[in-house]
Symmetry: C2
Subunit: 336 residues, 2 copies
């Protein structure tokens, strides 16, 4: 049964468990520092499809299939899929998962989608609405670039604050019992918009939401950053992470070496020309599902805050002069 | 506590209650047969904004505010907003609700979003994860036409199967206790895609999903259509409703006069030139929140199946030759 702690946090007394997880990534991600943690590195990031959008769907399909295989489950054993992505009308999910036969509850949280889908899966399992659910998300550099920025062939110059959308999908299967990471608490984020309008500086747009969610969670649970092994944001990357530090320090919250960001972990900024770092739903998803959840299962990590961040804009809203609303959803994950 | 009934249905033993609901519609919807049920009819469908997309956000904002006022609640008393819409990256919700200060869990189910958001709100309340949540969605004829079809000024000809996207928003506030409609069961839909590729015949693309979800629910609950006062689909409109009847009859399920479709109710097809009928998230949302939920509260309706239907395509997927996947989510609503 879920119980509210403080104003914003929900504690899941049944401690839903991640039965298995999978991370499928593209070639560039497979050349980065996290390569050894990923289940599959696709050297053909088109996945044999005739468009990048269709390829992105294949990443989701493969992530679900890989996670189910690891847990020895058939799709028919899942009650719900919680899935979303960055494509217009979330088509990477709809098309990637349409043949699964599993009821689909589409989620949209921009790059925060991995945290949001995992939170939904945990709450549904905890409530008894489901025995088993999967949380799935993806992003693809090529489908995102041409949808949000320029045609790839145009070769647009990127600013130093720009981030590189990861080509990757992650999937986590959640149920009761089992021996994986436990989902202990969930703190959903509210929209925070400080007026950033630079669509080439997503980290800055999302950092205030991340600071808001983390500070509310720490308040609600009466804990401090040093109580955790790892505090991990989704894709603030270099600029956003610095702002995140700064915004938190103004609230009297000091982060130390136990803080990291998936956007800084997935690529080698010195060697891979990704400017401020990685981004996209698949960035946080692949680092969580490839590295964090298995490390919790093995006991190498014991007490983690995972907080994926999203920028809730579209090209239309930006062209109409709107600022970029940010959001961040947090999960407290433990080994026991 | 949620309990699974059969393979696909969840029963909510605490019977979460709709504390209040609101429907805000545009001028054309206010000239239709349901006019007297709507809370506000906006004669300026631009809502004083400089774009239709911004206007659509204002519809959501106003629907939330109206529903909260009716229940005598402040936004800060809500724990979650479940909201979504048809615009790319669901910006009608993100921008319309960003100032509310309420944690936002964005939902994407295309035109099924009203059923999906209401289901999420009910499951969260039933589980104890929330005391009070709101479910919000919208559509706008002008923002949808130019995003999915043609610029309005082009004056594109519409086929007889085409539907008219309703300019409307609906909001329902869900909690425990109270005296409104109760949410008894939820049956989430799986993606059903029979290969329809005509983006001007959404009803046909969605009807198979509606038939799938209704037949699964009736199986799970061992009930028949005549057990309900009203069985209501979201926006199958004329062509889709006929297919829905036909598909169900092949499964041995016969619908009678207690069946209707929000897309057929919201407009007068003879007088309003909407071709096959209404569509859009706002169509099902405004009929549900303006008419059905209040009628359940007054006891004029007692036992309703509400099933909103969605077409999970984008212009990109259609241009790439993909068919249109359909989905339908069902709620069983009762007066007691």
């Amino acid at each position: 049964m879920a119980e509210r702690i403080g104003e914003f946090t929900v504690s899941l007394s049944s401690r839903p468990t991640v039965w298995s997880s999978a991370a499928i990534v593209g070639k560039k991600e497979g050349e980065g520092p996290m390569a050894k943690y990923f289940d599959t590195i696709e050297t053909d990031t088109r996945m044999g499809q005739d468009s990048w959008e269709k390829a992105e769907s294949m990443f989701q399909k493969k992530a679900l299939s890989c996670a189910l295989n690891k847990a020895g489950l058939a799709p028919s054993q899942l009650q719900y899929l919680f899935a979303g992505d960055l494509l217009n009308q979330c088509t990477a999910s709809a098309f990637g998962l349409r043949e699964s036969g599993v009821p689909l509850l589409g989620q949209y949280g921009a790059c925060s989608t991995m945290a949001q889908t995992l939170a939904m899966a945990a709450i549904f399992v905890d409530s008894g609405a489901a025995d088993l659910c999967a949380a799935v998300t993806s992003s693809h550099f090529c489908s995102a670039e041409r949808q949000f920025r320029y045609p790839l062939a145009y070769g647009g110059q990127r600013t130093p604050t720009a981030q590189w959308t990861a080509t990757a999908a992650g999937c986590a299967v959640v149920g009761m019992g089992g021996k994986g990471a436990h989902i202990r608490e969930v703190c959903a984020g509210r929209v925070v918009d400080l007026g950033i309008t630079d669509a080439n500086n997503m980290g800055a747009a999302m950092a205030p939401a991340a600071a808001d969610t983390l500070s509310r969670f720490l308040d609600d649970t009466d804990t401090k950053p040093s109580d955790y092994d790892l505090i991990l944001t989704g894709d603030l990357a270099l600029c956003g992470s610095r702002m995140f530090h700064d915004l938190l320090s103004r609230k009297g919250i000091v982060l130390s070496d136990n803080y990291n960001d998936c956007g800084l972990m997935i690529f080698d900024r010195d060697k891979q020309d990704v400017h401020a770092g990685g981004s996209g739903c698949g960035c946080a998803a692949s680092v969580l599902c490839g590295y964090v959840l298995p490390a919790l299962e093995r006991g190498e990590l014991r007490n983690v805050l995972f907080m994926a961040t999203g920028a809730l804009m579209s090209t239309t809203s930006s062209k109409q002069g709107e600022s970029i609303p940010g959001i961040a959803h947090l999960l407290h994950l433990t080994a026991e």
